[in-house]
Symmetry: C2
Subunit: 264 residues, 2 copies
């Protein structure tokens, strides 16, 4: 699930993450599909990663945080997440239940934070406080090329401080089974929250094709780890931690929901 | 007057415009001074331009557009502007009135637009619709280094289209008396709304001292006209059009206010 106000580069980042045009002129991103009421919308896509075909669903919410009054703009999202848990519970509780339950639960919510340079906005805090016990929240600093390395470093520190102050539990990337992998990832995890750049433009630089943003003063490269954390996010989300995201959703968030629901 | 949501670089731009620390650690910008209620606040400063000493007042509004619910967040600003007209009217109407009335009217409102890349936000439209008949509005695209030249060009077109669609009258920089100056400015006026970059950091590049933002992929220069419209804004605001801004305030906006007020 992809959440954040309009213009934070969500569609562009989603396209960059899956190396495909999830959003394009024929099927525009959430900010071009804003309706009178906030609705959660879904897009199905197939990607191949290391020879394995993955069927993913991208869920977005046009209009989130875009109005003068954004009170309760998190409600449709909260309802959607609960609804998927409900559906799963209904299936699971049947006498004759399917061997494989079609799992439509939301396994990760990428929450886009505007690069203001100051800290979280009241809406960010409101959203995360209400959703952190329901879904794995991975906060991302949007449009990271808006900040210098120093500004980004300070901003990350401030965000983490505020997250802790409000007792928000964001998704923690746990250690993996491979020791070598762990050692490599230890350093990368210190870059949370990940600051990302996305681009629909691929530039030809010498003999390389690079997804980047071309400015008069230089080229910001999406997959350059000196420029942003995109590559790290992509790697952990799709390769190393996808299974854990599914497991935590199933064994923690869903079980929470189930316990509360059955307790009545 | 400087208006816009937190984190759009207003303090930084104000410092850059007046080449002085209007805002600093000792006296922080509006985003660090947010209180429970929206208040308009003033800072007096003196700058010297072409040997002439100018006494300016910078008015800002901490908290504008920063809440979950921003309904009526323009009210304190509207009241402040009206109050200055009221004060002036009271002075002007006295039997024994001063030769020089202390003019505290707001002569220009720099309205900061977030570089979303899509268009104006509902709050931007709401604010400008309500204030365009009361004060000279000069809309600025904040943090212009967030956009590539193409994105900026398209964004400007979209903003102007929306401004026209909502019948908003932004301040128009009229021709000046000098023919040569007019010829030079004709091209510059086509860059409205001005897209600005600001910086509190001055870099030493070779033998030049340049206000800029240093990224791993390059240096965005505040006063480079290839990078943004800062220099043009500064020139027209402080040098060529300052008198006109005062005149239009006095002969159009103030007269409008006075006529409405005296009509009862
Ligand atoms: N500076 C910067 N701009 C970006 C980035 N990603 C997208 N954009 C631009 O921001 C604008 C809005 O992007 P979009 O993906 O439609 O945002 P969305 O409304 O959140 O879906 C477009 O002009 C994009 O080209 C980024 O990483 N950095
Ligand atoms: N990308 C970019 N960042 C800027 C610019 N001007 C200021 N900033 C940064 O944005 C953050 C907020 O700036 P500030 O001036 O305090 O914004 P304010 O809240 O609107 O007063 C700081 O980290 C600044 O360094 C700019 O022109 N471009």
């Amino acid at each position: 699930m992809v959440v954040g106000e309009s213009g934070l580069g969500k569609s562009t980042l989603t396209n960059s993450l899956f190396l495909t045009d999830v959003y394009s002129d024929e099927y525009p991103g959430p900010s071009q599909r804003v309706k009178k009421t906030l609705e959660v919308q879904k897009t199905a896509l197939s990607i191949t990663e290391n020879g394995i075909k993955l069927n993913l669903t991208v869920v977005d919410t046009p209009g989130f945080g875009d109005n003068v009054n954004n009170d309760k703009c998190w409600d449709p999202i909260q309802s959607y997440i609960d609804q998927q848990y409900d559906n799963y519970l209904n299936q699971e509780s049947r006498v004759n239940r399917p061997v494989h339950i079609h799992d439509t639960r939301v396994h990760v919510c990428l929450y886009f934070i505007a690069p203001s340079g100051h800290g979280l906005k009241p809406l960010d805090i409101e959203f995360m406080r209400r959703l952190h016990e329901k879904v794995n929240i991975v906060p991302l600093i949007a449009k990271a090329d808006t900040m210098t390395p120093d500004e980004c470093h300070d901003f990350k520190k401030e965000i983490l401080r505020e997250i802790q102050m409000h007792n928000i539990n964001i998704y923690e990337f746990p250690d993996v089974s491979d020791e070598e992998e762990n050692r490599l990832q230890k350093k990368l995890k210190q870059r949370v929250p990940f600051a990302v750049i996305g681009s629909n433009v691929v530039l030809q630089i010498n003999d390389r094709r690079i997804r980047a943003r071309q400015y008069p003063w230089g080229i910001a490269e999406v997959e350059n780890e000196e420029h942003c954390d995109f590559k790290i996010l992509r790697d952990m989300l799709i390769r190393t931690h996808m299974q854990d995201l599914i497991d935590v959703t199933s064994s923690v968030h869903y079980e929470n929901f189930r316990a509360k629901k059955l307790a009545g």
